[in-house]
């Protein structure tokens, strides 16, 4: 195969559409007679529901339906626990509408369908609910205290799961250690904020008996399968389409969000299209959150700074439910050793219920936490031994010749944590080179003389990506349209699948990426698969597409070999033509070959008819047994286990010690996702991830008061970084191909966010070294940074004068 397109900065096929406002998002789909839905959400964090009176709401003109739990009939079922785990002894999932209690602010209580959204919201205001307040569980440590109130009365100590994993003998390692570092480290609650909020629009066609659901989900097939069961329809009767989706980041994958059940149910019951579009306030208070963890971590090392062991106990805030099992804490636990040789490791995770929105994976999904913990420990070890923070990492990296490297744990997919390939020392070298680490130290000293405080921070990480079970793809050459048509079920939320996938196909079939049309996220276009999550689509779907395109190429070769009476091995596909190697007069366009491959007796259109002339009439049946018409194939790819991407990031940060304000002067991301399909797309993924990491370092914090009221329920209080807060991000690519898939690729979607908090913590400490600032918590506001400075100095010393 030639790789003309793979690795190239091909402009994105989707950009013309998206950048000129021609994208079609769920809210753009407005059936003419649609009804509009709104959800009444709990205004209290924890309460029994004593009485719900919907009479006034029902009586409001324009209101078509007002439902509470008891109106849902067979659809009143808790959502499935999609990833069960032995350690999850007390898993709980929620009903679409609260039954007799509410466990978090934002939990759906009633569902209104009305002529428009205004009336629907007016009706919500008219629903009377009587609550009997219950004590709220907010603070993670308080939640597991002996006499803590309970989120679920039948879950003792608010513990959903207790997960322990071990490698080697940690106790022995700590006994042997010259040095032991111990830290309490905290990452606070944050959440993905896609530009487009969630939305569901559903239409039921009573004649065909087909329910069509447009949904911002990342996994349309899962929703399709689930809805079919829930509504008693066959899978063929439900079509779920995720059209253009403006960002997902994990928050758009659930089975189910309440509205994903209620809107389709309403469309079926009311016989009219129903539409619901989440507003930002709903997104902030009621769509899933992430990040909150508290770690007590310790590291044992020799005098030379060699790690002997790591032991980590942590609490993971799962909110009020566990709809996604314990994926996030599993990832934290298993990724914590990172790129280092950690011969002895013990992880003890307690998954804790609180009266907050459920926690499910959000970009990074437990990894930023793991990286923050490990990298903080590494920095502390370096400081303790007075070894440079760079050198301490070099001494502990897994070396390139040591792959595959067995960490000895069980990853989120139930498979062993075994790194397939990587080159961590090179990644770090490239980072230092880009940052001019040595030069910076001089610059830092000069700046200090001028009264400025600059600091440098670095962090390294690994990321298990591209997990199974499998994905599939269908590739067909549409000769008449002169196009390669590809379908896969994974959803796309802006990752550039329409281009990256097209590049893979273009190389196999010798066409241009712009001639390849990719359909994602339509359950009718591809019946089998899982979804977009865990940095897996390029790896798993990409390889399925590659495999299908390869089969199509072989078919084209076989058809052409018949036409030109040459061996299939001598047929090549290039520049849109299929022909005999070295004999250009014996060639046809790929499109014509596709027409010829369909042995019917006529073809419509000039070119096609011409091509038909070339068809040899053969004796006997038009198709032999096992032969199929046309040039098409459906193939699947099921990886053995995760493939491990890696990287090292660094930043130079200036801090105004008097105001506590940090300014990021430079940010460099060295990234290794195996073979890069399209560097521009990978850079875009990294930039977005880094921006979210900057949010998680300095801006984004979901705060709750002691009654579990969210205090950051608008963008005035939940601060996402804007283009003004995000510096230019410099990217460096290192490529160590994966050994686990034919294309050699690893996932890139989540990587950008993983090390950012660790980098920023390290840089802040470096900039503020004279105050002996210790960063053990993220995010930090300038006010928090001033608190840290004050701890390390007397206030007057740092103030003017």
């Amino acid at each position: 195969m030639t790789t003309r397109w793979f690795g190239d900065r091909v402009p994105r096929n989707e950009d013309q559409r998206l950048l000129t406002g021609q994208g079609r998002f769920v809210d753009d789909i407005s059936p003419s007679n649609a009804l509009h839905a709104a959800v009444l959400r709990s205004p209290v964090g924890h309460a029994r529901l004593l009485r719900i009176d919907t009479a006034a709401a029902r009586a409001l003109p324009g209101v078509e339906a007002v439902w509470t739990a008891e109106d849902l009939g067979d659809a009143l079922r808790p959502s499935p626990l999609v990833v069960p785990h032995d350690s999850l002894t007390h898993g709980r999932t929620q009903y679409p509408l609260a039954t007799d209690s509410v466990e978090y602010v934002g939990q759906p209580i009633a569902f209104v369908v009305a002529a428009d959204r205004y009336v629907a919201e007016d009706a919500c205001d008219l629903i009377e609910v009587e609550y009997e307040a219950l004590p709220a569980v907010v603070d993670l440590e308080a939640a597991v205290a002996p006499d803590a109130p309970l989120v679920h009365p039948d879950v003792p100590e608010n513990v959903a799961a207790h997960l322990v994993q071990s490698v080697g003998n940690v106790e022995e390692a700590f006994r042997r250690a010259d040095h032991v570092i111990e830290e309490r480290l905290v990452l606070e609650r944050g959440a993905g904020q896609p530009m487009e909020c969630r939305a569901v629009t559903a239409l039921f066609d009573p004649v065909e008996e087909v329910l069509t659901v447009y949904d911002t989900t990342q996994a349309p097939l899962s929703i399709r399968n689930g809805l079919a069961v829930l509504l008693g329809l066959s899978e063929n009767q439900v079509r779920v389409v995720a059209p253009d989706v403006g960002g997902g980041f994990g928050v758009k994958i659930m089975m189910f969000y309440a509205e994903e059940v209620l809107v389709p149910l309403a469309a079926v019951r009311l016989g009219r299209p129903v539409k619901w579009t989440e507003d930002r306030r709903e997104h902030l208070i009621a769509s899933n959150h992430e990040r909150g963890q508290i770690h007590w971590a310790s590291l044992a090392a020799t005098n030379e700074g060699v790690i002997l062991g790591v032991s980590d106990r942590f609490l993971h805030d799962t909110g009020a439910y566990t709809p996604y099992g314990i994926i996030v804490p599993i990832i934290t636990a298993t990724q914590l050793p990172g790129p280092y040789r950690v011969p002895n490791y013990h992880s003890d995770a307690t998954v804790v219920y609180t009266n907050k929105v459920p926690v499910t994976p959000y970009r990074g999904a437990g990894r930023p936490h793991a990286c923050f913990v490990m990298e903080r420990l590494m920095d502390r070890l370096a400081d303790r031994l007075d070894i440079d923070r760079v050198e301490i990492r070099r001494r502990n990296f897994i070396q390139p010749h040591e792959f595959p490297w067995d960490v000895g744990l069980t990853f989120q997919d139930g498979r062993p944590t075994r790194y397939d390939s990587g080159n961590y020392p090179e990644g770090l070298d490239r980072l230092l080179e880009a940052l001019d680490y040595e030069g910076f130290r001089r610059e830092q000293a000069e700046a200090r003389l001028a009264g400025r405080r600059l600091g440098i921070g670095i962090a390294a990480y690994v990321e298990g990506t591209g997990i199974g079970p499998y994905e599939g793809a269908h590739v067909r050459i549409d000769g008449t349209a002169k196009r390669v048509v590809v379908s896969t079920c994974v959803g796309t939320q802006g990752q550039g699948h329409e281009t990256a996938f097209a590049q893979i196909v273009a190389d196999e079939l010798g066409v241009e990426p712009s001639e390849v049309r990719i359909t994602t996220g339509d359950s009718r276009a591809m019946n089998w698969g899982s979804g977009t999550y865990a940095s897996r689509s390029a790896v798993v779907t990409g390889n399925a597409i590659g495999a299908a395109a390869r089969v199509v190429r072989q078919k084209a070769q076989s058809v052409a070999s018949g036409l030109f009476e040459a061996s299939p091995d001598d047929i090549e596909l290039e520049w849109g033509r299929v022909g005999v190697k070295g004999s250009p007069q014996h060639s046809l366009s790929l499109w014509d070959v596709a027409v010829v491959a369909n042995p019917i007796r006529y073809a419509y259109g000039d070119q096609a008819s011409e091509a038909m002339q070339l068809m040899k009439t053969r004796d006997g049946a038009a198709l032999e047994s096992g032969e199929a018409p046309g040039l098409e194939a459906r193939e699947y790819f099921a990886p053995d286990r995760a493939t491990w991407a890696s990287g090292a990031h660094g930043a130079i940060v200036e801090v105004d010690a008097d105001t506590g304000s940090p300014v990021i002067l430079r940010y460099v991301a060295v990234h290794d996702c195996g073979r890069v399909i399209n560097p521009t797309i990978v850079e875009g993924q990294i930039h977005g991830g880094v921006a979210q990491g900057i949010g998680g370092s300095f801006y984004e914090r979901l705060v709750f008061d002691e009654e579990a009221q969210p205090l950051s329920s608008t963008f005035m209080d939940y601060l996402i970084p804007t283009s003004m807060e995000v510096p230019d991000i410099e990217t460096v690519h290192v490529e160590t191909p994966s050994t686990l898939n034919p294309l050699g690729i690893k996932g890139a979607g989540e990587a950008g966010v993983i090390p950012v908090a660790a980098v920023m913590a390290s840089a802040l400490e470096d900039a503020l070294s004279e105050y002996d600032v210790r960063v053990n918590q993220m995010p930090l506001s300038p006010s928090d940074i001033r608190d840290l400075i004050r701890l390390g100095t007397d206030v007057i010393g740092s103030q003017p004068g």
Binding site: Y118, E121, D279, R281, P721, S783, R786, P800
Partner: protein, 291 residues
């Protein structure tokens, strides 16, 4: 996030508008740039029965600079920001207004609306307090002028009566030999201030003859740091003086803790920023540089 039902009026004359307000009283809300009111409506934090949209009123979109500064109720913040003459007569306004939200917001939001909204962390109330501004209020039965000092009553509460429209805000000319500075710390570009300060000093014969130190985001309204002002007046501008005045200013406020910063932090910011601001303002006063 859809507003509760309301009746919408878009009067074409001031009398008509004032008449509507006279009838509806506090059941009505005036809509100017909408950049504060519309979010409140959408979140149903405000649910007035009546909206009186003043955007069709004639002759209120003026900015004049012949004798101090006069800004009409429909002059957008962006209009004030871009007006070069404003920079000459009231450089503090130009310096501070760029801190109001983002360009898109300033294109619609009005300066007078910002004063009327009276967010304690907003920039314009602070600046109008520092520069001895006045609001011109009209009602069916007459008009009155209220000084900025009397106008801001409490958090988002002003001296405006429900039947009044603020038709204009004005600033007197700044005495010669003056210099000013505006400083702010916000969480992000375009956010309301965690704390902000405005200082104006007038220097004659090497001494500070007049000083204004105003603080934002550290009390229920923008505040004058009167002790800091008193400390400055009739003194020679020295570093030690600025340190003392800054310290005094940090005691002249009543900050509270919220999720964006502690009370202690805000007090520190006041001190740091007043100190830095005084240095800047004095240089500007001496050199006659803008500000």
């Amino acid at each position: 996030m859809k507003p509760a039902p309301f009746t919408y009026y878009d009067p074409h004359t001031l009398d008509e508008a004032l008449g509507l307000l006279a009838v509806h009283g506090d059941a009505a809300k005036i809509l100017a740039g909408g950049q504060s009111l519309v979010p409140l409506l959408n979140m149903r934090l405000a649910a007035p029965d009546v909206i009186v949209d003043i955007n069709r009123l004639p002759d209120l979109d003026f900015v004049t600079t012949d004798n101090g500064l006069r800004v009409g109720a429909l002059a957008r913040q962006a209009m004030v920001e871009r007006d070069a003459a404003v920079r000459d007569v009231a450089p503090l306004v130009t310096e501070a207004i760029a801190w109001v939200g983002h360009r898109q917001i300033r294109n619609r939001g009005t300066l007078v609306g910002s004063l009327a909204h009276a967010d304690p962390a907003a920039e314009m109330p602070l600046v109008f307090l520092a520069l001895d501004g006045e609001l011109h209020l009209r009602r069916t039965s007459g008009s009155r002028r209220v000084s900025a000092g009397d106008f801001f009553v409490h958090i988002m509460t002003t001296a405006l009566d429900p039947e009044e429209i603020a038709t204009e805000a004005s600033l007197p000319p700044v005495p010669p030999g003056s210099g000013s500075a505006f400083l702010e710390v916000a969480r992000r570009h375009g956010d309301f201030a965690v704390a902000a300060i405005a200082v104006v000093v007038t220097i004659e014969a090497g001494r500070i003859r007049r000083a204004r130190v105003a603080l934002g985001g550290v009390g229920p309204t923008p505040l004058r740091a009167t002790r800091a002002e008193e400390r400055l007046v009739d003194e020679e501008p020295t570093n030690e003086l600025f340190v003392e005045a800054a310290l005094a200013a940090s005691h002249d406020c009543e900050p509270v803790t919220d999720i964006h910063g502690t009370a202690e932090y805000r007090r520190e910011l006041v001190r740091t920023m007043v100190y830095r601001g005084l240095g800047r303002a004095v240089v500007r006063a001496r050199t006659g540089a803008a500000g």
